[in-house]
């Protein structure tokens, strides 16, 4: 498999603190790749640098053969990289319908002129977007909330809305920052299945997550960060038994320990 | 036109005196912004209250300058306390727009209540120093200006010491630098914010008291000054106290020089033109905000 996303020598310091210190990894096209590491190891910073939300101090990011290093976030999104945020971001005062429609609108061909005259192009675009939204709403199990402001949803449900929004425009790669943290455990299994299904249909994922079971079940390849450096990488099974990884996780926070317990159980 | 050195020096001294007064206002705004991330639209009205307090206190105190000034400062600090406890305390740190609208409403109320009570007629304020002045060669500066400038310098020195060496000053800087971390080490933001507002109000009261013998006192006097002070905190970098001081003194000089050689209109417009130019070149202001630095 070829690398869809290739990150090399990524460096980023916050006022002297090295959040990322020469991190390199690749995400194969069609894969689900996990990015794990203790709290504060630089996972979110890596995502922010890749997706254009943080200026990077050095390194190179290539998406499908195109250099996207340092490009503005909206251009990286248009190039086909959609991301979610660790602290959930959705439009809380808009309905689920609008949340999903906005996520797709930049990716269709309809202009405001099309909209004004309600041209065929506009109507087609809206219809396609509605269809996709309907699929995704079923996927995340929030059909009955479709017309309702997303602000009233629970935290876990909001995470799912953010996930669905990222999937709306059929991006080349979806980057998820802790997609199931705070999501109802009974739903996590369904998300797993759904992501696997989307992956089989050709979607590539890069996932940051603390839930070890989730990562183990899903990921083909796992990259481990510690204190801004890449500790190791390998298949989920190999990582699980890697001594260095276990050691890194021994200094873990209670919530992570709990996550691991859940994973082991 | 040949430039007369004495005239230029005179303008320069006037400019510094003016700049110091601007700095008193701008520093207060910056202080409040640093701690609460809000802009106090009613800040100019605190200055106006200080000037009015001076105006009423002086005759009572037999025209004695210093006791009247102290009264004015205490009065505005009290006003600051009331404003904080009554209104600002209800604001959350990220409610910038709301803070503007609330303090804008407050400013409207204060101005028009004052106008209702004391009419819009400008008042002259007379103090023990009258219009006497010092003369150095051909240069003449009134005592009220000299004392106003000296009081401002003393206030900045005091502020520096407070921010640098007291518990309260350290807490204030900590909050301005990193709110979450400050909360974690047990700093109580409410107390710090209240003290910051009171301190800023005191600086404004000082400015108002110092200005009152120099300028006419009217209910509107704060409004135009405050708009300039807003521009100054932007030029200096929001929340950056030394930046505000430098920008303020720079503006005092520029205005004074322009006023000496060009039409008065240019003098008033200078601050806004400078601000737009600065924003164009450096969107974060001349001196980028790095928390609340004190030196």
């Amino acid at each position: 498999m070829t690398a869809l996303l290739s990150v090399s020598d990524l460096r980023k310091a916050y006022s002297g603190v090295h959040a990322l210190d020469s991190v390199s990894f690749e995400v194969a096209a069609g894969s689900i790749t996990g990015l794990i590491g203790p709290n504060g190891s630089g996972k979110s910073t890596a995502i922010d640098c890749i997706s254009g939300f943080q200026k990077l101090d050095g390194g190179k990011v290539v998406l499908a053969g195109t250099d996207i290093t340092g490009k503005p976030a909206h251009l990286i999104a248009r190039a086909g990289l959609m991301r979610t945020f660790q602290t959930v971001r959705i439009y809380e005062r808009l309905s689920l319908r609008d949340n999903l429609a906005i996520a797709a609108q930049q990716f269709d061909q309809a202009t405001w002129i099309d909209e004004f005259f309600r041209t065929r192009r506009y109507r087609d675009a809206v219809e396609q977007s509605e269809q996709r939204a309907a699929e995704l709403v079923d996927l995340i199990g929030l059909r009955k909330y479709y017309e309702i402001e997303t602000g009233i949803l629970s935290y876990g449900q909001k995470k799912l809305v953010a996930l669905a929004a990222a999937l709306m425009p059929h991006p080349r790669i979806v980057v998820l920052d802790e997609p199931v943290a705070g999501v109802n455990p009974s739903r996590i299994r369904e998300i797993e299945v759904a992501l696997q299904q989307l992956n089989r249909a050709g979607e590539t994922f890069l996932i940051v997550e603390h839930n070890v079971e989730f990562i183990t079940n899903l990921c083909h390849q796992v990259i481990v960060l510690e204190q801004g450096r890449k500790l190791t990488e390998g298949t989920a099974a190999a990582i699980h038994t890697d001594a260095r990884v276990l050691e890194a996780y021994l200094g873990m926070t209670p919530e992570m320990a709990e996550a691991e317990m859940r994973g082991a159980a | 036109m040949t430039i007369d050195a004495v005239y230029l020096l005179q303008l320069t001294l006037n400019g510094i005196a003016l700049g110091l007064l601007y700095a008193l206002i701008a520093v207060g705004l910056s202080l409040i912004f640093g701690v609460m991330e809000i802009i106090n639209f009613a800040h100019g009205e605190l200055l106006m209250l200080g000037a009015f307090a001076m105006c009423f206190a002086l005759p009572v105190m037999g025209l004695l300058y210093w006791p009247a000034m102290a009264t004015a400062i205490v009065a505005t600090m009290l006003a600051g306390f009331v404003i904080y406890e009554g209104l600002l305390v209800r604001l959350k740190p990220d409610e910038f727009e709301r803070s503007i609208l609330i303090t804008l409403g407050l400013s409207i109320i204060i101005i028009h209540v004052m106008q209702y009570l004391f009419t819009a007629t400008p008042r002259m304020v007379d103090s023990q120093y009258g219009f006497d002045g010092v003369e150095i060669g051909a240069i003449r500066i009134t005592w009220t200006r000299v004392i106003g400038a000296a009081a401002a310098v003393a206030a900045f020195a005091g502020l520096y010491l407070v921010l640098r060496y007291t518990q309260f000053g350290r807490a204030m800087r900590a909050i301005a630098q990193n709110r979450d971390a400050a909360l974690m080490v047990g700093i109580r933001p409410r107390v710090v914010a209240r003290n910051a507002v009171i301190l800023a109000a005191g600086l404004c009261g000082l400015a108002g008291a110092a200005i009152s013998p120099i300028q006419l006192v009217t209910p509107y006097m704060g409004q135009f000054l405050i708009f300039k002070a807003f521009a100054l905190v932007i030029i200096g970098g929001l929340g950056n106290i030394p930046g505000a001081v430098v920008a303020a003194i720079g503006l005092g000089l520029v205005e004074s020089w322009i006023g000496g050689f060009f039409e008065i209109a240019w003098q008033e417009a200078a601050v806004f033109v400078i601000m737009i130019a600065v924003l164009f070149l450096r969107p974060d202001g001349l001196f980028k905000r790095g928390g609340m630095r004190v030196g």
Binding site: R83, Y91, I102 | I100, G105, L106, I108, Q115, A269
Partner: protein, 313 residues
């Protein structure tokens, strides 16, 4: 449904000169229409896009002067003047909007305030153009096809047509994808960027359209007053627009329109003392920010959401 109501309301408003012959009341009606347009423009910029812009006051003044000068100095007519006012403001908004929208939202607010003050200074000090504090009196009423809108009732139709047209345009804009995107930008700008949308062109467009409409409204208002002087840039106007938007509910299109009509009558009703009127304005502003920070429309909406939430449990 709302649209039907709005249409009926507009028609009812058109009938005002038929039910009263009082020039005073019709004059209040003209002010109400024009203020509502200016408030709706501010709502586009602040309520929808989240940009608290005090520059509206500057645009209002520039519009008033540009329209007046077109007629009085440059020999054009009223209609052209209004168009020029709109175009000039849009261009100006693009030029100043670009640098100040790149700064943070704190600096944006203050820069717009500064712009408004600068315009007021220019109006006062550029005496050769504006006649300074003397102002420009005796502005003639407009004409079209040989008909002069000389009387107050006939000028009322002009103001009515202007506001119906601009409010209709703003409604089309706000209820389109563009309007939806503006709301999205206000609510969560990083997310908008993550979804491939560049916020800048939208913000600039919103700022410029708001400026153009405010300027045009200022032009019509100057021809209602028939005199323009630096008092046209009194902060009072900005406060009025803001209070309308806040009370109506920032981001609620019809809420602000309704508040505009209702509250424009207020200054007239409270005419007893200028100071007292302003005190009441200030109290309303402060009280509204605490009691109903999202305005009447927001308050109603929150109650609806609370009901929904209950139904879901």
């Amino acid at each position: 449904m709302k649209l039907l109501l709005a249409l009926l309301g507009a028609l009812a408003f058109a009938a005002l000169p038929l039910v009263t012959s009082s020039n005073y009341i019709i004059g209040v009606g003209i002010s109400a229409l024009i203020f509502t347009v200016a408030a709706a423009a501010l709502n586009l910029v602040y309520g929808f896009t989240g940009l608290l812009s005090f520059a509206q006051l500057g645009f209002w003044g520039i519009g008033g002067y540009a329209t007046t000068l077109t007629v009085m100095t440059f020999g054009g007519n009223f209609w052209l003047g209004v168009v020029y006012a709109a175009l000039l403001n849009a261009a100006l908004a693009l030029v100043i909007g670009y640098p100040i929208l790149r700064t943070n939202r704190h600096a944006f607010v203050i820069s717009t305030l500064t712009f408004a003050l600068l315009v007021a200074l220019i109006a006062r000090d550029w005496v050769t153009l504006t006649r300074g504090p003397l102002g420009i009196p005796n502005i003639p009423r407009p004409q079209a096809f040989g008909f002069a809108f000389e009387t107050t009732p006939s000028f009322y139709w002009v103001a009515w047509a202007f506001s119906v047209a601009t409010i209709g345009f703003l409604y089309a804009l706000c209820s389109s994808r563009i309007g939806r995107t503006l709301i999205a930008i206000k609510q969560n700008e990083p997310l908008v960027r993550a979804q491939g949308i560049s916020p800048m062109p939208y913000k600039l467009a919103s700022f410029a359209i708001g400026a153009a409409i405010t300027g045009a409204a200022g032009g019509v208002f100057a021809f209602h007053l028939r005199v323009i002087d630096p008092g046209f840039l009194d902060f009072y106007y900005m406060q009025t627009f803001l209070i309308i938007v806040i009370i109506g509910g920032a981001g609620s299109f019809w809420g602000v329109i309704a508040a505009g009509i209702a509250l424009s009558a207020l200054p007239e009703a409270l005419r007893f003392s200028a100071d007292f009127r302003m005190i009441i304005y200030g109290v309303i502003l402060v009280a509204a920010m605490f009691v109903m920070p999202t305005g009447v429309a927001g308050w109603l909406r929150e109650r609806k959401i609370a009901r929904m939430r209950q139904a879901l449990q």
